[in-house]
Symmetry: C2
Subunit: 322 residues, 2 copies
């Protein structure tokens, strides 16, 4: 993951997720300040061991008990190849490509010309590869599948971030992800310039109508949650202005406003006046996100950046030596 960390530390594009350590009480009372105390957790989210496991699974499903066609190539033949992006994209998944060829067990040298998070134009050379010809052929599709999928998520994320424009609003992902690829996609969102919302059901409270009903009131639900864990981020979804006021009364850190009209979002921003962070959600797309950001909400979350995938068009080309 050295490359990922490098991208992050350069401060180029990836942004810190909402939370790493509990915000101090002082920071919590001034919600936007509190955003700044979060250390960049995401660089640790996707561990090398996660990449190892994902790549092993993908290689197994593609290769099974052997690449029969590769056996037509001399076992000792060497080749050179390049991976090209045929279209504009934000790159993500370089470490997955490295890991594919590492697991195939021979000495493939991958020389990257780009880093995760980089924007490329059509026909950009992403990397050169050299080594055993069979290995290059056998790993080609699995390597490209990771790169095209994760770069697809990073590219779509960047489009949403760009649509927000100069507004301070941060783009958040959701748990609407491809099964098995949650951490990888969260990493891709960070590479695209988005910010990670909770990773799963375990690292933040998101209190919805069902929980409020069960506890009898917002205050009751918040109180119960704080007893379960005082440290985790606590967010409450509201449907009315009265519920919003209840949240403010009991010091909720973040309020989720699902399917609020633009007018209502503007009203809420004024009414809350920085006493809680505000997150808007609900069928927000590339057409509408700028107007939502303009209302002054702190966050916009959308499932679209991870549940839909438009794979980036990539090509691995072999030189004439093969």
């Amino acid at each position: 993951m050295s490359r990922g960390i490098e991208v992050c530390l350069s401060g180029k594009t990836p942004q810190a997720p909402y939370r790493d350590e509990p915000a101090s009480t002082a920071a919590r009372s001034s919600n936007l300040l509190s955003l700044r105390v979060f250390r960049p957790l995401w660089i640790r989210l996707l561990k090398p061991s996660d990449i190892t496991h994902l790549v092993a699974t993908a290689l197994q499903e593609d290769i099974g008990d052997g690449d029969v066609t590769a056996q037509l190539i001399d076992a000792n033949a060497c080749a050179q190849a390049t991976i090209i992006s045929r279209e504009a994209a934000v790159i993500c998944g370089c470490d997955f490509v490295d890991e594919v060829f590492r697991q195939l067990g021979t000495d493939i040298a991958v020389d990257w010309r780009v880093h995760d998070g980089d924007e490329v134009t059509p026909n950009t050379l992403l990397c050169t590869l050299g080594g055993n010809a069979r290995t290059l052929l056998t790993g080609e599709r699995t390597a490209l599948n990771f790169l095209q999928t994760l770069a697809g998520t990073a590219t779509l994320t960047r489009a949403y971030v760009n649509a927000i424009g100069a507004h301070k609003t941060r783009l958040l992902d959701t748990r609407k992800t491809l099964p098995g690829l949650r951490l990888a996609q969260k990493y891709a969102v960070a590479c695209g310039g988005g910010m990670n919302h909770r990773i799963g059901l375990y690292d933040a409270f998101l209190i919805k109508e069902n929980h409020i009903q069960a506890a009898g009131s917002i205050a009751g639900a918040v109180d119960a949650a704080r007893r379960v864990s005082a440290d985790l981020l606590l967010e409450v979804e509201v449907e009315t202005f009265a519920q919003l006021d209840e949240c403010l009364d009991c010091g909720v850190e973040r309020v989720l406003l699902d399917n609020f009209s633009l007018d209502d979002l503007g009203t809420v921003v004024t009414r809350v006046d920085g006493r809680a962070a505000l997150e808007a959600s609900g069928n927000i797309d590339l057409e509408t996100i700028h107007a939502v950001a303009q209302t002054g909400v702190d966050f916009i979350s959308t499932g679209a950046i991870t549940k839909h995938v438009r794979a980036v068009d990539l090509s691995m080309r072999f030189d004439d030596s093969l």
Copy 2:
């Protein structure tokens, strides 16, 4: 997988993949007849144990060491819920939903109103669920993620199949799949009415330029392949009419025509006259697929149906009891 098998045996939509057992020599010499001897392998491709494993992985990444918010609900509370499709779709993934709640270990009853492969209109009730309220809330997102992703692939596949229309051409998938979800997506393609191409590198030969160069000629490559395995499907990608003739001379079963113009495809169909099955590929989309089918090729393969995903818009709604 009883539901999947049911869909298949009904002969409703899913189609058999290209190969289960070696076509007889007689069938091979009359290529289109040979298509009919293939038994439906796909119903065995995605095994219950695959679903178990995929669901376990997805639950683990979402729940980790526990759903903190679900703890705000009484541990013994029960609830009823429904899953609705908000848009037109082809359903796929019912068994994954069942498995999610089975693994969560309590007695959730899922009553399906649709089967994999069914086409639904907006606002169709897909199933009702009843049982422990915490479990329903905890499993909701993982269940929907499988259903929205796999139904997305089935729906896109069906759109391509419909675009082919009345032509005899069969739509094939590729190995351009979401890492970790190869078998699940191949199953979704079958539910959408597509046909599975090779599953991985292990179950068919696809001889390309690199392999031909290494063997010195198409005849040399084909000969080498038959020595590796006489039983596996053997397909050769050609770039010229001369290469096509070479394939016919050595009895290649299927020829891949990548990025051929419509005119050239028509010429090839006439020239081959049933002596080999013909597969067209190369950036064929919903706009162009009908014209390609009209040339008379036997198969069209496209990565678009599995590498791109447009998740189906689904909703799980809880009744007032929760």
